[in-house]
Amino acid sequence: MKKAILVLTLLLISRAIPALAEIDLSGSWQSINHEDSLERGGGPYPDDWTGLPFNESGRAKALSFSQSVISMPERTCWFQTQWHIAAGPFSLRMWAVPDPVTGKISAWMVGGWETRAPMTIWMDGRPHPSKNAPHDQTGFTTGVWNGNELVATTTHLKTGYIRRNGAPSSDQATITTHFRRHGDMMTLVLFMDDPVYLTEPYILSRSYNLSTTPVAMGGPPCIVGDEGVESGRVPHYLPGKNPFTEEMLKYYGIPPEAAMGGAETAYPEYREKIRAKFTRPAKCAINCG
């Protein structure tokens, strides 16, 4: 009996001690924008939702989107959510925040940009706030180590966009970010799990190179200016009136049904579905790189 209690105690204590395998993620990480280069930089084409696992509400919301929304006075200084780590072009600055008493890392910081708030990844086991707590610009993120992989979970997001062409993300979304480092390269794999607009999680992965060139840690302040949309007006398209549904057909021969997204558009069998409807344009007309 005494032996059993001793063994149980040892087991419990070893579980209570944090895993030893943690690595240093700190530094300035330069973004490698080779994939989705246009989408992350200048921005995606209007109504290009290829590969996005929309449900019908997500698609309808995206189709109602007018770019003039971001000129609304209430939205001029609106920030992107933490998803913008994947959807935007910017580099990352990461640093650890030690507990002043124990020296243990109580949080990892991912610095912000001009359109994204800094992310605090709490490593001290604190719980996420309740469903009644406010959502702020940073969301609420906790992290755990899986060996040398940092897994961060972000909730309490504000509404935002999966793509900067109106593909929405809701305030009920959860973003899971996996940080994997291989020497001087780091790959992030992000999952956007949004039961309001998606039928399955949307996945993006991005890579970064460690650099000695410092990356900014935070964005500049913002003051609302007049961009031509008067207070109280809500720019949007009525159903059936979005003028850009054939944009991808025009430039790339991609049929509109593919551009409207849906989970099936991300899987190999979809190629056969659209093969007969696809005509490759003679040459690149715009954004050729």
């Binding site: 109602s64 209430e74 200084c77 610009q137 504000k158 302040p221």
Partner: protein, 319 residues
């Protein structure tokens, strides 16, 4: 040895258990700290705003039926001082059913009334303050509310202001919004607005046309609410702005009100366009004008109820 092992087991178990999420206290009622002296009580029907200070407690709304004991229990964990005022920002049962019990548990500020005792207003309990429209709406309800539940301080103007706990409190009447009895209550120093069911982050707004609500009034009210709030510019990434306590749902900021207003406008515009095309109400519902928001706000029949209320509002406006 045995005693030591038991202690060790207990310590280890508490370390492992520390990471688990805290659960709501007191049978589903949660006191969310909004500011140093301001809380939101969630889970008592409609949300309740709670201002604390040396004058005592000011409540905005009083919760739904059979929740008052829980509310009083939650308040006791925050302060020993009595309830002094209940401000009703909404006449719905979710917000006024607790009026009598909570008022009786409180204590009027008018302790120097002539005669004392039975001469004290509201029998000595906390005052119940609201726009006159709340009193009128509550007076229509059958079976009737007891007299102790009715507001005993009703005002008729568009704005009323008092000062409690060293803070200015403004009450703004919002006509013909969710019903005919909506108000916003702004706590100036706390920078908190309690909104009632003009805003509900859990569902489409309920617009009770029969009780004087209208889609135009709802949109006007939401625009007013946006104007009453200040976003955290210029330091968007580090500060928070005015907090809004909706009738139901989570503590919000200006951006949530903007999202909600935009949703109401978009669905209204979609319905208006279908009316213009000559569609009947059934055809309009079938066209799903609220589709962009159905999964977010369309709980328990709320979608069609919302579309109907917009339709009725717009048709009433035409005639």
């Amino acid at each position: 040895m045995k005693r030591f092992l038991i202690v060790a087991l207990g310590l280890a178990a508490s370390v492992i258990g520390a990471g688990r999420a805290l659960e709501a206290q007191d049978g589903g009622l949660e006191a969310v700290k909004v500011r140093k002296n301001f809380y939101m009580l969630a889970g008592a029907g409609g949300n309740i705003g709670v201002q604390l200070g040396s004058d005592g407690i000011v409540l905005v709304n009083a919760g739904g039926p059979n929740t008052s004991d829980k509310v009083l229990g939650a308040l006791k964990t925050l302060t020993d001082l009595p309830i002094r005022y209940i401000i009703n920002a909404d006449a719905g049962t979710d917000f006024v059913a607790g009026n009598e019990k909570l008022a009786r548990a409180g204590y009027t500020i008018f302790t120097n009334a002539l005669g004392g005792g039975a001469g004290l207003p509201n029998g000595g309990g906390a005052s119940i303050l609201s726009h006159d429209s709340v009193l009128r709406e509550m007076s229509k309800v059958k079976p009737a509310y007891p007299s102790g539940a009715l507001p005993n301080e009703a005002f008729f103007t568009a704005r009323k202001a008092i000062r409690m706990n060293d803070e200015g409190i403004e009450i703004f009447y919002q006509p013909s919004a969710h019903t005919s009895a909506d108000s916003f209550v702004l706590f100036r120093a706390s920078d908190v607005v309690v909104a009632g069911d003009v805003m509900d982050t859990t569902r489409f707004p309920v617009i009770d046309v029969a009780s004087g609500g209208s889609i135009a009034g709802e949109i006007a009210a939401l625009n007013r609410l946006i104007d009453l709030t200040i976003a955290p510019t210029p330091y968007i990434y580090k500060d928070v702005g005015t907090y809004v306590i909706p009738g139901h749902g989570r503590v919000s900021e200006q951006m949530e009100v903007v999202d909600y207003r935009d949703m109401v406008v978009l669905v209204r515009d979609n319905v208006a366009d279908l009316i213009k095309q000559g569609k009947t109400l059934d055809q309009i519902k079938a066209a799903r004008p609220a589709l962009p928001y159905e999964t977010r706000y369309g709980v328990a029949g709320a979608t069609n109820a919302f579309i109907e209320s917009i339709y009725k509002s717009l048709q009433a406006k035409k005639s």
